[in-house]
Amino acid sequence: MIQASLLNKSFRIHKKQPGFIGALGNFFNREYHSKPAVVDFEVTVRPGEVIGLLGPNGAGKTTLMKMFTGIIVPSAGELKVLGQTPHLRSREFRKQIALVMGQKSQLWWDLPALDSFLLLQKYYEIPKADFKRRLDELSTLLGVIDLLEVHVRKLSLGERMKLELMSCLLHEPKILFLDEPTIGLDLVAQRNIRAFLARYQKEKGTTLILTSHYMADVEALCQRLVLILGGKKRFDGKIEDFEQILGNNKIVAYDFDRPLSTEDPVLAPFAPVWNEDRTRVELTIPALQLRELSQKILKDYPVVDFHTEKLPIERVMTQLMDRPELL
């Protein structure tokens, strides 16, 4: 589906000193330099895979997406998507992909979404019967039947995102690129979009490439993660392996009904992190000791509640973003 080898992309940028003097100086003397955004990137994506591209802001995720979709031209390296060179942008290639941009609308702002869909039907040459069937199917699944004839500018962000998704799926693309599809959405809207994408992918077997800063998106959808730091690939593997990248430890938090001593000798070996009033502790416990230690704490301590961390990949991500040398 996607084959990238030694892929590189650099941008030419210039700096400007602040203020009018800076602007004047910049007008007469502009120094350009090259900023690498993606460096020697290699990846192979198989049909039907769901891959999360992770990394901090400016890591190169979106630049990769832009190269995969043919929007920008790589500076060097080999890239084939669906057997084609993306930046040559053949019509055949473009008919097989779609890109959802969380921060940019592709629908006509002043018109109802249905007008945009009818336009896309012609652009993608979708037969009328297929178009009607997909329109019914997708609008029912996403619960947007009543919104199709409402002007896009009148919709909430969550409603608009559902319709953006629809617009990208009407031609049943083989690869769907999702660039932060849940950005800015409330929790319910995020959950709905995730649930829809998971169901759609399962039914159609579409290859999904996702970037998101919400680890819940990644955990709910992706089987494989690719971590990019400073334009370079630093991890490529299963989500379970990513969770254990910094060791096979579990983070468990215990709530107590009264303050305890922070010097407790039983808890001390497990890097305890206490809250302000010493009624809650978070322990990092090796997987092999989890059962035994938990039993002991539940039995001997005034525990009122306990839970394991919900998104281990979020912790791993945070640590790696702070200290990339850990990899």
């Binding site: 941008f11 979106t62 997406m65 832009k66 979709t69 043919g70 929007i71 920008i72 031209v73 930046h87 942008r89 019509r91 473009r94 008919k95 992909i97 779609a98 890109l99 941009m101 921060q103 940019k104 592709q106 006509w108 002043d110 018109l111 007008d115 945009s116 009818l118 336009l119 896309l120 039907q121 012609k122 652009y123 993608y124 040459e125 660039d179």
Partner: protein, 274 residues
């Protein structure tokens, strides 16, 4: 691919894009009405009253070989042809490039030039309706003072104007594409617009200009924007065949250049804001 297959492949796409352009035009009703009426108001208030002052109440005097009635008729035709030609949107194209808004048209299997071409055509057709309505109104109001051209003369004038509109589209599109290199292109567009006003005969008939300049302009597409169609519609068709060839050449040249500039410019596109 044979022409019939090409036609059936592209016609629905262009048609649907034109429908969206029309729908967008009609969203803001007052805006649409003002844009339809404003050029006529400018024509009546500015141009006609200005030329009336030039003739200083002696309508049968000759200025540059034109009586006031001929000058008014000339400017009526120039007004109508300019409605059909000046429909470009270069500043929007360059702004879209700068803000990364052309991304969708790099993903859709429909090119950016086709999108802008269909939109331009849609606007030109709307303007054709406005021009026809204006012409009917003026003709009825002046009841015979304006000589209405023969159908074949009207067709020839329209052909010239539409070919000039084609050139203006490519010129606009090219200036818009400069947005790949320059952050602002509106100054270029204003310069092109002023140049076109002066060299097309929109402000004063080209017969006012020195002969050497008139001769030179015959090899440019500018006279076909206003002067030539106006003269044709007033019954003078000298030089039309050459003008059609010249326009064909400039249209083809500008279209090819636009494709080249697009290919070069796209390598610089960063899809900002995504």
């Amino acid at each position: 691919m044979n022409p019939k297959a090409l036609w059936s492949l592209y016609l629905p796409k262009w048609g649907a894009t034109m429908q969206v352009a029309w729908s967008n035009l009609l969203v803001y009703r007052l805006n649409f009405l003002l844009s339809a009426i404003a050029p006529l108001v400018v024509f009546l208030v500015v141009k006609l009253s200005l030329w009336y002052r030039v003739y200083e109440g002696a309508p049968s005097a000759l200025v540059g070989g034109f009586t006031f009635s001929q000058m008014a008729t000339y400017h009526l035709w120039v007004f109508l042809t300019s409605l059909l030609v000046f429909n470009g949107n270069a500043t929007k194209i360059s702004e879209d490039i700068r803000m990364g808004k052309i991304t969708s048209y790099l993903i859709y299997p429909f090119s950016l030039w086709e999108f802008h071409g269909a939109t331009f055509l849609a606007r030109t057709l709307v303007q054709l309706g406005i021009a026809a309505t204006t012409l009917t109104g003026v003709w009825a109001f002046l009841s015979g003072q304006v000589h209405f051209p023969e159908p074949h003369t009207l067709a020839l004038g329209l052909l010239l104007t539409l070919m000039a509109a084609g050139f203006w589209f490519w010129a606009n599109y090219l200036v818009g594409l400069i947005g790949f290199w320059m952050e602002e292109t509106w100054t270029l567009m204003v310069m092109l617009q002023i140049l076109a006003y002066f060299l097309s005969g929109s402000l004063i008939p080209l017969s006012f200009y020195p002969p050497w300049l008139q001769g030179l302009l015959n090899y440019t597409p500018f006279p076909a924007i206003a002067y030539l169609p106006a003269r044709v519609l007033m019954g003078e068709s000298a030089g039309v065949i050459q003008a059609l060839w010249v326009l064909g050449f400039w249209n083809l040249g500008a279209a090819l250049l636009a494709q080249l500039v697009w290919k070069k410019g796209l390598r610089l596109y960063t899809a900002a804001g995504m």
